[in-house]
Amino acid sequence: MDIELIQMLALKVTYAVVMVSVVMSIAGYTVLAERKVCAWMQGRVGPNRTVLPFVSAIPIIGPFLRNLGIFQPLADGLKFLFKEEIVPGHVNKFYYYLSPIVALVPALTTMTVLPFGEFTNAEGHTTPLVLANVDLGILFVFAISSLGVYGIVLAGWSSNSKYPFLGGIRSSAQMISYELAMGLSVLPVFLWVNAPGMTESGLSLVSIVNSQENAPWLVLIQPFSAFLFLIALFAETNRLPFDMPESETDLVGGFHTEYGSFKFGIFFVAEYAHVVIGSAIFTTLFLGGWHFLPWVADPWAPGLIGSLLGVGWFLAKTFCLIFFFIWVRWTLPRFRYDQVMKLGWAKLLPLALVNLIFYVILVTYLDQAAAS
């Protein structure tokens, strides 16, 4: 292998490591945000004790950070590491150990095609900030995230106990049901973006984002698709009101009932990584990605500062969505299992189909009008 290839590989690996650690820490802080927001909504204050020794010495900032619980995720992570590792005797060892990994890997793999900003160099050449600008962006995301269900199913099965098993079964049924609606709900988006006469084309997420530059966000053009996609996203990330696989109250934690210590931690982080990635994807698809506001050109000049601001703006949007996820979780009760199935197959899927057909007709009509 030549030097260039090695260099490129090293660069890619570095990027990947950076990205993984960023997403993981965002996931960790999403857990904190969940606890804090939940506490605030319930009139409590949430975690506010953990602090690093030298930080607590700083006069005003120290107590402020402590009250915000900024260091809680660190403590939680350490706790998961040092807890006694209990493996129940009745489990199928191999799959029992395999499933947390299977749950985490897809969650982290989907981020490779996720564009989070762009960089314009001095010559005016623009490169999107993305690990792999695959032409098939969204399909890749769907394909990989559909593998995430194996972690849950295997965990449920290998635990060899009733509640996890029910959780696994429920989750496999739920995932399959909502994947269809999810795919169908984004089809109109791509139809619109790829419609003849539009500047951008392809299934890549970058082109989707760029089509929203200086133009209305897709959520304004296709509110219904966005709505359907959001619901399906809730179901795919196993968030309340669709947290069938877990349902603490009726399945005692569902698929991870038999898991403890670090293995449970991995499931936990994987779940929140799904939420983070899901929010990021919604942002790229419907909320204009790193572009400023609908109809408004980016106020920042291209260049390093500009791209940093863009990434920050992208993250801000993503965090708002994560907040929405949390907000909904602490507002709504859980659906019953049969209601989930009915909603998926009898309501969401037909609606997505109708939505698709509507946009097919609309795009065709616009196309004909433009042609004549």
């Binding site: 394909a143 559909s146 593998l147 199913v153 079964i169 496999s172 995932m175 299934l203």
Partner: protein, 210 residues
């Protein structure tokens, strides 16, 4: 030996898919078999990636590994098939027959592979081989070329291969309706028209939509 990276990866992924396939039929535990099948499918998808057919690769993972195999696992778990089922079965006539047919199939495949290997040469100039589809080429689907881009699949499917696509779709629909008819409890159907037996018309229209 002078292996390029692509060659090396090709052997790795082939080994994964073939080995996975073997493990599917050799493993006693149905869940293990299903997992190996996923592995094998992912291996095939990786081979598609090596061929730069990303679209196929992604679809392979999405449809087979992501959806179909989940259903497989679902069914396996629901039926609770133990690792022992089918162990004590004797060498019945059926088994001998199916073994024979399998051997025949393998033989046929080998012969065909040997016969046609070397016929298809890989174009060295990737520029003309992976030619992108333009609007003109698609006019009547006349000169569709195989290309890695998603567009070419779309144009191909909806122009030149429109009829096969429709037929395949229709077949699948028929299969689906058939499954619904078979799996539906026949009580209510019997009560209504015992003589006619279950007919597609009695199925739930809602499920047909789905």
């Amino acid at each position: 030996m002078n292996l390029s990276l692509v060659d090396f990866l090709f052997y790795v992924f082939s080994a994964i898919s073939v080995g996975g396939g073997l493990a599917v039929i050799l493993s006693r535990n149905p869940v293990t078999a299903a997992m190996f099948m996923i592995l094998s499918l992912v291996g095939v998808a990786s081979l598609f990636v090596l061929l730069e057919a990303f679209f196929l690769a992604v679809l392979q993972v999405l449809v087979y590994a992501g959806a179909v195999m989940v259903l497989f696992l679902f069914i396996i778990m629901l039926m609770d098939v133990g690792p022992d089922s089918g162990k004590g079965a004797k060498l019945s006539k059926k088994r001998i027959l199916s073994g024979f047919i399998a051997l025949l199939g393998v033989g046929l495949l080998t012969v065909l592979t040997l016969e046609y290997s070397g016929v298809a040469t890989v174009a060295t100039d990737s520029a003309d081989h992976w030619q992108d589809v333009t609007e003109e080429t698609s006019a009547a689907g006349a000169n569709i070329v195989f290309s890695k881009s998603v567009k070419s699949f779309g144009y191909g499917l909806f122009t030149k291969y429109m009829l096969p696509l429709q037929v395949a779709g229709f077949l699948l629909l028929a299969a689906m309706v058939g499954v619904i008819v078979l799996s539906k409890k026949t009580d209510d159907v019997d009560a209504h028209n015992k003589a006619d037996g279950p007919s597609p018309g009695t199925t739930n229209p809602q499920s047909e939509e789905a």
